[in-house]
């Protein structure tokens, strides 16, 4: 059995940044396991620009952004295995993986970093009625077919869901010569970034139909027609509002689900809202020495934040392995972080002050569109911080920087609560 100090599951943006940080923080024995034929993960099919504004202060394409990290992995001589599928991770961190060359291999790790990313929700998960012909793709599958395989999945397209991949694919399909007739969104607001609505829909005159969903799919062999209808407040279709589109393709961009089958199998506790592992301030899961970062932890909007988060996970895993976690005299008991009043969740969801660095970024998402409101932070009953936000939307990830200074200004609370407040 091979042995590594840190084994990283996944060589996408999270895995790469975690590996680099682990190495830079003094751990030499790091291994990345990647199931695809190259490093970079989903970035490889994201050939549009807009990546890296926060990290590199310039606009890169997905592959360019990935390459910057891949270059560092090469420069640091971090080993990785490609075309290697992790089949199982035991609670004692024995990783079983498989590839064509080595067959089944087992690797004993001292720390594991989960960085498997996420998958798209499928048509089935929505229970969309109708036939089941060819021509129904999740937006990411269509993106791979177009951008990596070089094939056009359809010529006349309706898109359900205004998540970022759906918006990006509306533009991509248009640029490749297909006609995108409409993007329908169940919610009364888009699930994507504002800039993508402007650059991918508005600039190409593609209508965004909010509060609409697909109520029928026709075509026994290939998609022939899609029927959209408006929905009421309870997301139920309103009779009489149906509109039928002749088309050959339906793309779905209806949400991403963290891919945590391995995590669940090994016994990591899951967060009911994020569908990712519950983590503490070190991004460490319920199993000591098992860390999580990137979209397997919670679905991000920008890859820059994935890289930041993953670097923290890598650094913390290194400290765990080296036995140099910043243990202090007090504050070992976890403080629970509660998400209330419009805040859906926070990552992390617990903090042990003893292990917290001077600054900790808490990331969260809101459940609705809020305008001119405040993000308020309470230590137990006492409000300790309040930040004004002109607009908060479910499609954008929010963050709050918790400082040790703030924590020390008050008695240690039992719980920290995040809320959206409309006024004082």
């Amino acid at each position: 059995m091979e042995k590594y100090d840190i084994v990283i599951i996944g060589g996408g943006p999270a895995g790469l940044a975690a590996a680099i940080a682990a190495k830079n923080n003094g751990v030499d024995s790091v291994l990345i396991l990647e199931r695809d034929k190259e490093l970079g993960g989903i970035l490889n099919q994201c050939i549009h620009n807009g990546f890296g504004l926060h990290t590199f202060s310039e606009e890169l394409t997905g592959p360019e952004y990935a390459q910057r990290f891949i270059d560092q992995v090469h420069a640091l001589q971090i080993p990785y295995l490609l075309n290697t599928m992790v089949m199982d991770i035991s609670p004692s961190k024995c990783v079983t993986a498989m590839n064509k060359v080595q067959g089944m291999l087992t690797i004993q790790a001292r720390a594991v970093i989960l960085a498997m990313g996420c998958r798209e929700r499928s048509r089935g998960a929505l229970n969309i009625p109708g036939y089941r012909p060819a021509g129904i793709f999740s937006a990411g599958t269509a993106q791979r077919l177009v951008n990596m395989e070089g094939y056009l999945p359809g010529r006349n397209v309706v898109i359900l869901g205004s998540g970022d991949i759906g918006l990006i694919m509306a533009r991509r399909m248009t640029l490749e010569g297909a006609k995108v007739q409409a993007v329908a969104e169940l919610m009364p607001y888009s699930g994507g970034l504002k800039r993508n609505i402007v650059q991918c829909l508005d600039d190409f005159n593609i209508p965004l139909k909010l509060s609409h969903t697909v109520v029928d799919i026709r075509g026994k062999e290939r998609v022939e027609q899609i029927t959209l209808a408006q929905v009421d407040k309870n997301n139920q279709p309103i009779a009489g509002t149906e509109e039928t589109y002749d088309c050959d393709t339906l793309l779905l961009s209806v949400g991403l689900i963290p891919e945590n089958e391995l995590s669940a199998q090994m016994g990591v506790s899951m967060h009911p809202v994020t569908a990712g592992p519950k983590v503490n301030e070190s991004l460490e899961t319920s199993i000591e020495g098992v860390f999580a970062c990137g979209n397997v932890l919670h679905v991000h909007d920008l890859v820059d934040f994935v890289s930041q988060e993953a670097a923290l996970a890598g650094k913390n895993a290194a400290a765990y392995v080296r036995g140099t976690r910043c243990g202090r005299q007090e504050g070992f008991a976890p403080i629970f972080i509660k998400a209330q009043q419009g805040v859906r969740y926070t990552v992390p969801s617990t903090i042990r002050p003893a292990y917290m660095a001077d600054k900790l970024t808490l990331r969260f998402r809101v459940g609705n569109v809020y305008k001119n409101c405040y993000v308020s932070v309470y230590f137990d009953q006492e409000r300790v911080a309040r930040q004004k936000r002109p607009v908060l939307a479910p499609g954008e990830m929010e963050s709050f920087t918790l400082t040790r200074q703030l924590l020390q200004k008050y008695p240690y609370p039992e719980a920290i609560t995040f809320k959206i407040e409309q006024d004082i």
Binding site: R35, N83, M85, M87, M98, N99, K100, V101, Q102, G103, M104, R119, E120, S122, R123, G124, A125, N127, P129, G130, Y131, R132, P133, A134, G135, F137, S138, G140, T141, R144, L145, V146, M148, E149, G150, Y151, L152, P153, G154, R155, E176, G177, V215, D216, I217, R218, K220, E221, R222, P237, D248, E261, A264
Partner: protein
């Protein structure tokens, strides 16, 4: 000189079972199928239950063949290497007022020769299945009920028939049948065929072919049923098949584990006209979810990974019609095969083969191959065995479908074996690649590439399920 001794119309589970049983005899046999593959219509979209046999009226053909089919299924699954498990079933009686109906079901089962039946009170039933709703009153327990992979069963029968010399013709739609002095002339979309005997195993189309040769018309109604399939994470919610008390449209909505570990809910029952009308409806899916929750509590409905609809071939008399047509000698009906058709198929094949064998005076083959090996599932191997396999054939080390952990080796096997897969759905039904929680989002492009390389064909020619179901429309 006729082309064939026997032509079987339809490569579903009935046609394939008939072909397999007939292949025991010295005869020239051909199966005509209008679709691209075996198991493309009724046989592919059903509950996958091997019923115990307490539903059908005592003395009916349905009752007899169901019980016989159930008894045969175990050894058949060993011979032909398809997934089958005897899990048992519970029929839930909600109210004390319905107890006479449950009792009647029990007595019917006993009369039909179903073994091991007993009526459980609420506590006994809950001890067996803790996720039953608490407001039930009693349950009929049928230990011989089982679950089977409907694709696996159909494909296994067809492959074994093929190994025993039966020819299969796909994309061959029978357009007309004429009685001749000797045998029949079948006009098809691929030319004419002549045969001494015709076995009509055409599912929802069986009435069409029957009525071409007989003055005594039959009528088959496509009865649509919607289903929801849940992720494997929900697969242990119940361990047995949970039925409601039957009503006039059949057995109602059931909740069952599948033989692959998913949870299946359904079906509804709606009579329609379109013999290809396999579209789900919002009302249907809503009804499935509602009804399923009446007997089983806390169903994790967020774990639904797909929904689908299937058609049952409901004959007006609600009975299997398996006999030589009286005014068309040599034309053998295998019609009205609705539930419990899947359960009964081994016995249906046996019965049809006997009729044809007598008719034509066929002799048994000495070299009949009784067994068939399915596609190797590497998950059943030890790590050492798996490593040896990968060393010998590295494709078994390459995972293509990450949800179901299906390797390139299995997919290549599915394509290259006799009656191999030609489409993504063909591969899915044989290997389960694409049948998992992401519903082929990740693996479809990779499976397409393997299919294109192996057939060989261009990527633009790769289909979901044959005909005009192409996946990509061109190079960009």
């Amino acid at each position: 000189m006729l082309d064939y001794d026997v032509v079987v119309i339809g490569a579903g589970v009935s046609g394939s079972a008939c072909a397999r049983e007939l292949s025991r005899f010295q005869a020239k046999i051909c199966v005509l199928e209008k679709e691209e593959d075996v198991c493309c219509q009724t046989s592919k979209a059903n509950s996958g239950i091997v019923h115990a046999g307490f539903d059908a009226a005592p003395g009916s053909l349905m009752a007899r063949l169901n019980v016989r089919g159930n008894q045969m299924m175990g050894s058949l699954s060993e011979d032909l290497d398809f997934p089958y498990r005897q899990t048992g079933a519970l029929v839930i009686c909600q109210n004390v007022e319905d107890m006479p109906n449950l009792q009647a079901l029990y007595e019917r089962g006993v009369a039909n020769g179903v073994e091991g039946l007993c009526i459980l009170d609420k506590e006994q039933a809950l001890a067996m299945e803790p996720n039953l709703t608490g407001n039930m009153y009693a349950a009929l327990y049928a230990p011989t009920s089982g679950i089977v992979c409907p694709f696996g069963l159909n494909i296994a029968l067809a492959e074994n028939a093929c190994a025993n010399g039966v020819e299969f013709r796909f994309y061959t739609e029978v357009l007309d049948i004429q009685k001749q002095d000797k045998g029949f002339l079948l006009h098809t979309s691929q030319g004419d065929y002549t045969a001494a005997c015709v076995v009509n195993a055409a599912g929802v189309y069986a009435d069409v072919f029957h009525n071409m040769v007989s003055g005594q018309k039959i009528h088959i109604t496509p009865r649509r049923g919607d289903y929801c399939l849940l992720d494997k994470s929900a697969g242990k919610h119940v361990e047995r098949t949970i039925f409601s008390l039957p009503n006039r449209y059949g057995k109602g909505v059931l909740v069952t584990p599948t033989v692959h570990g998913n949870l299946l809910l359904g079906p509804t029952a709606v009579d329609i006209d379109d013999k290809e009308g396999t579209n789900t409806t919002r009302e249907g899916l809503d009804l499935v979810l509602k009804k399923a929750g009446e007997n089983v509590r806390d169903l994790p409905l967020r774990q639904v990974i797909t929904s689908f609809a299937g058609l049952r071939a409901h004959e007006d008399g609600h009975e299997f019609i398996i006999r030589e047509v009286s005014d068309a000698e040599g034309f053998v009906d295998c019609a009205g095969i609705e539930s419990p058709g899947l359960s009964s198929c081994p016995a249906i094949g046996e019965m049809v083969a006997k009729i044809v064998q007598k008719k034509l005076g066929l002799y048994p083959k000495e070299d009949f191959i009784k067994t068939r090996k399915g596609i190797l599932d590497p998950k059943t191997l030890s790590m050492e065995e798996r490593n040896a396999l990968i060393l010998q054939n590295p494709a078994y080390g390459n995972i293509i479908c990450r949800c179901e952990m299906i390797t390139e080796g299995e997919i290549l096997d599915a394509i290259s074996r006799p009656l191999g897969a030609k489409s993504l759905d063909g591969i899915k039904r044989r290997t389960r690649a694409g049948m998992g929680r992401c519903q082929s989002g990740f693996c479809a492009p990779r499976t397409m590439e393997i299919l294109a390389r192996s057939l060989p064909a261009g990527m633009e020619e790769i289909t979901k399920s044959g005909k005009a179901s192409g996946i990509v429309v061109g190079k960009k």
